[in-house]
């Protein structure tokens, strides 16, 4: 092979690598985020309701006969298009990214932000997605700060979503999230039939409730971020409803009464902290009895079909009430 051809191949190789790095590092969201955001950019999304939240919004129990998810129930209740941004493991930061983008830049008319009562999550999207949201929507919350990337445990380019770390409860050492999934979740799932039971290893389930609701500090930076979203939505005359999701107090109480009380106290203090930020908050933490929940093994507040129906009715009611009061206020102003 001649030297000329070798040089040409080298040039094409350089082009290939250059194209790769330019596109790879461009401040555009990855395909998953872009696909999720696409519906809100359509003119048909005019005045649509956007929904953000984690697996509590998306999850369906294997035993559910009625497989309508919360967004569908809201759509039916409100007779309105609902754009669902929720996905399993969504953190407050990711929800803020999506919701701010939808309300600030596009046609969405309102948003329902389903919040875990602990707000305890940490995530940094990959650098490109982070830059995209900073340019496109500027959601101002702590986790979105570029300074996060220079912390010792943060990646320079890639995403970071922290999962449950190993922990000890009542002298039993539990593994990290992957270990919990492999050892405990799989055993519980295998033993779970229909209708669901309260679970097999109650000691683990109690420990995981403690881990989820008590051991983690409430992320104050996230509270400020949610306050900022409320400010932004007020300034552009769009509505955001923050919903604190139900906790299965009956289940916790049946295992450890004191733990249930501790969770209650913490959830109340979170609720008060959110109210101080003047959020339009709907606290539904105590509305569901035990049969409103599913997947007890994950101690994560997943809802059964009856739970989803009750919750959606309350949210629809809250949205309709606030619309009526807004209309009433506008009429009075006129």
């Amino acid at each position: 092979m001649g030297a000329k051809l070798r040089r040409a191949i080298k040039a094409y190789l350089v082009v290939l690598m250059a194209v790769f790095f330019v596109i790879y590092l461009a401040p555009v969201p990855d395909l998953k985020v872009a696909t999720a955001l696409a519906p809100v950019m359509s003119p048909r999304a005019l005045n649509a309701l956007v929904v953000a939240g984690n697996s509590v919004v998306t999850d369906l129990s294997a035993c559910d006969q009625d497989r309508r998810k919360l967004p569908s129930l809201l759509s039916e209740g409100l007779h309105k298009k609902v754009i669902d941004f929720s996905f399993p493991g969504q953190t407050v930061g990711q929800g803020l990214d999506y919701t701010t983008f939808a309300l600030r830049r596009f046609h969405a008319g309102a948003a329902v932000f389903f919040l875990s009562p602990t707000l305890s999550s940490r995530s940094i999207p990959d650098l490109q997605t982070q830059m995209f949201f900073r340019f496109a929507a500027s959601p101002e919350y702590e986790e979105n700060s570029l300074q996060q990337r220079f912390k010792p445990d943060a990646p320079l380019l890639g995403p970071l979503t922290s999962h449950a770390e190993p922990f000890t409860y009542k002298n039993v050492r539990y593994p990290d999230y992957d270990g919990i999934k492999d050892i405990y979740y799989s055993a519980e799932k295998a033993a779970m039939g229909c209708p669901e039971t309260l679970g097999k290893n109650r000691q683990f389930i109690e420990a995981f409730y403690w881990y989820t609701y008590v051991s983690q500090p409430v992320q104050n930076g996230n509270i400020a971020g949610l306050g900022k979203l409320q400010e932004i939505s007020n300034s552009i005359h769009k509505r955001v409803l923050f919903v604190l999701m139900p906790v299965d107090y009956d289940d916790v109480q049946s295992m450890n009464y004191a733990l249930a009380q501790t969770i209650r106290t913490r959830v109340r203090s979170t609720s008060e902290a959110l109210k101080k930020e003047n959020l339009n908050l709907l606290d539904l933490t105590e509305i569901l009895p035990a049969d409103g929940f599913s997947d007890r093994w994950c101690a994560c507040g997943h809802l059964s079909e009856s739970g989803r129906r009750t919750l959606s009715e309350r949210v629809v009611q809250a949205l309709q009430t606030s619309t009526e009061s807004e209309n009433h206020t506008r009429t009075e102003e006129n």
Binding site: I9, L13, V15, V19, Y24, L31, A62, C63, R67, P159
Partner: protein, 504 residues
């Protein structure tokens, strides 16, 4: 370590490729040693439970190979038996003990639940070494150098999920470094790797999510309705093809970056006109192994027609069990064995009556059979399999995706239709996958100018691509498209997503 991880793509691969090309021009033995070391590091990173098992297995087979070469029958034959039985014993313990002990425990209602973790790549490196021992016995020509043998087995592009290679295919290539041009190897390898990564993260993973979201409730006893069942079967059919052929493309691409060609493992299997052709296009290196070391060892077609059919069936049953310890894998292998047997019978008996099946009908029938057969392959038990199959024939009613408008109309018509497990947004990726699998040129057709892989004798070689528009070359267009594809695919590497064949 996964090929579709940032650690591999941005750290391991560039370091290994650069150091290898720097070293290989100065000293081939050092380069071979370096690759062997890197390959072992690659395994240890992803296999913290039994990092010693591969080393022990390699040493055992290396000694057996040396013994076979240096002795005559009956000692050589004895050593061959020892090696093969030893390999199968290791496979039985680490891959099948859980299943067998579990079955016995269930029979006697014992609470014993063994939990031996499956070592990464054990099925692949065991088969590779069995083939090596048999080849050594037949040719009396084995690898005398331990480090080279170590590299032959542990070579990281093929270690975990194949292709299953022969010593004579790969090792001579390491001894001819002067023929290689690093720039061209890296360029072609990157193009092929980009295609493989895109297959995995852009098509297989999204389809896999849909398949899991339906198979999982089905395994919990929720009855799966018509469209759900078809969606589950179709998405899994697309997932497994793009997942495994994507892995094979990546393996070939990575190896090509190091100037080594591996055997081609896929050749558009869903375009097959019958099941015999399917097995000449799907997981070619396994088919070749089963033909050469199981079917022929059982007697092949040398002992009469009836025995031939039995051998065919037995070979496929063994192929099924090779994939995993479970009744559903046995079922999958048996189904394929019966289908092969039927086609063979058809060829032997009916062909003389001039009844020729049109190619399109053959393709459709083959695809449908393969689709139905993937259901037991994916199902954890017979109940799940029956659930999905029942749904596919309409025994569990109808469901439609969760679209409010559609449900509003259906509610007005008082039709008993449930919302489906999938959404309409998940349909396009399935359609794209099917269209690509049925009508697009495959990776080696796109890359045919570079001759990216080795053909296997007796297996269908890729015909030239129909359209030159897809053909890759050393030009600006290919460089731009490959860079773009690689970037898009790399951006989609987000969450941990294993390859299906890592579990076999």
């Amino acid at each position: 370590m996964l090929f579709n991880s940032n650690a591999f793509l941005f750290v391991f691969l560039p370091i290994v490729v650069i150091i290898y090309w720097l070293v290989v021009r100065r000293s081939i033995p050092v380069a071979v040693g370096f690759l062997a070391l890197a390959s072992y590091g690659f395994l240890v990173y992803g296999e913290p439970t039994y990092p010693w098992l591969l080393a022990a297995s390699i040493l055992f087979n290396y000694i057996c190979g040396l013994g076979i070469r240096r002795t005559q029958d009956p000692y050589a034959r004895g050593l061959l038996m020892l090696g093969v039985v030893g390999d199968l014993l290791v496979l039985a313990v680490f891959k099948y003990a859980n299943f067998f002990v579990g079955q016995v425990a269930m029979l006697f209602r014992s609470p014993i639940h063994p939990s031996i973790v499956l070592p990464l790549g054990i099925s692949f490196y065991t088969f590779t070494q069995i083939a090596y021992l048999v080849d050594t016995y037949q040719t009396r020509n084995s690898e005398s150098h331990l480090v080279r043998y170590f590299l032959f087995i542990s070579y990281f592009p093929h270690l975990i999920a194949g292709p299953i290679i022969h010593h004579k295919e790969m090792m001579p290539q390491f001894l001819r470094p002067r023929l290689r041009i690093p720039q061209l190897s890296i360029y072609a390898g990157l193009c092929l790797f980009a295609i493989g990564l895109a297959k995995k993260v852009l098509i297989a993973d999204p389809c896999g999510e849909v398949a899991t979201s339906i198979f999982s409730p089905a395994a919990h006893g929720i009855r799966v309705a018509l469209f759900d069942a078809w969606m589950a079967a179709l998405t899994y059919t697309v997932q497994i093809y793009f997942d495994f052929s994507g892995y094979s493309d990546m393996a070939l691409g990575i190896s090509l970056m190091l100037g080594i060609r591996l055997p081609i493992n896929f050749n558009s299997p869903y375009k097959s006109r019958n099941i015999i052709e399917f097995w000449r296009r799907w997981h070619i290196s396994l088919s070749r192994f089963l033909r050469d070391y199981v079917y022929i060892a059982l007697g092949g077609n040398r002992k009469g027609r009836a025995r031939r059919y039995v051998n065919l069936l037995l070979t496929m049953v063994i192929g099924g069990i090779w994939h995993g310890a479970g009744w559903t894998f046995l079922m999958w292998g048996t189904l394929h064995g019966l289908a092969l047997l039927l086609v063979q019978l058809w060829r032997d008996q009916v062909k003389n009556c001039l009844m020729v099946v049109p190619a399109s009908v053959g393709r459709a029938a083959t695809f449908l059979f393969v689709l139905f057969a993937w259901v037991p392959f994916r199902s954890p038990d017979f109940a799940t399999m029956g659930n999905i199959w029942g749904g596919m024939v309409g025994a569990h009613g109808f469901s439609v995706p969760d679209v409010a408008a559609v449900h509003g109309i259906l509610a007005k018509l008082h039709l008993p239709i449930e919302p489906a497990f999938f959404t309409v947004h998940q349909i396009p990726i399935l359609l794209i996958g099917l269209v690509v699998a049925w009508s697009a040129p495959n990776s080696q057709q796109i890359m045919r100018k570079f001759r990216v892989g080795l053909d296997s004798p007796g297996y269908r070689a890729s015909p030239p691509a129909r359209s030159g528009a897809f053909a890759a070359g050393v030009n600006w267009k290919t460089a731009f498209l490959a860079g773009t594809l690689l970037a898009f695919a790399a951006r989609c590497i987000g969450s941990y997503s294993e390859f299906i064949y890592f579990h076999f």
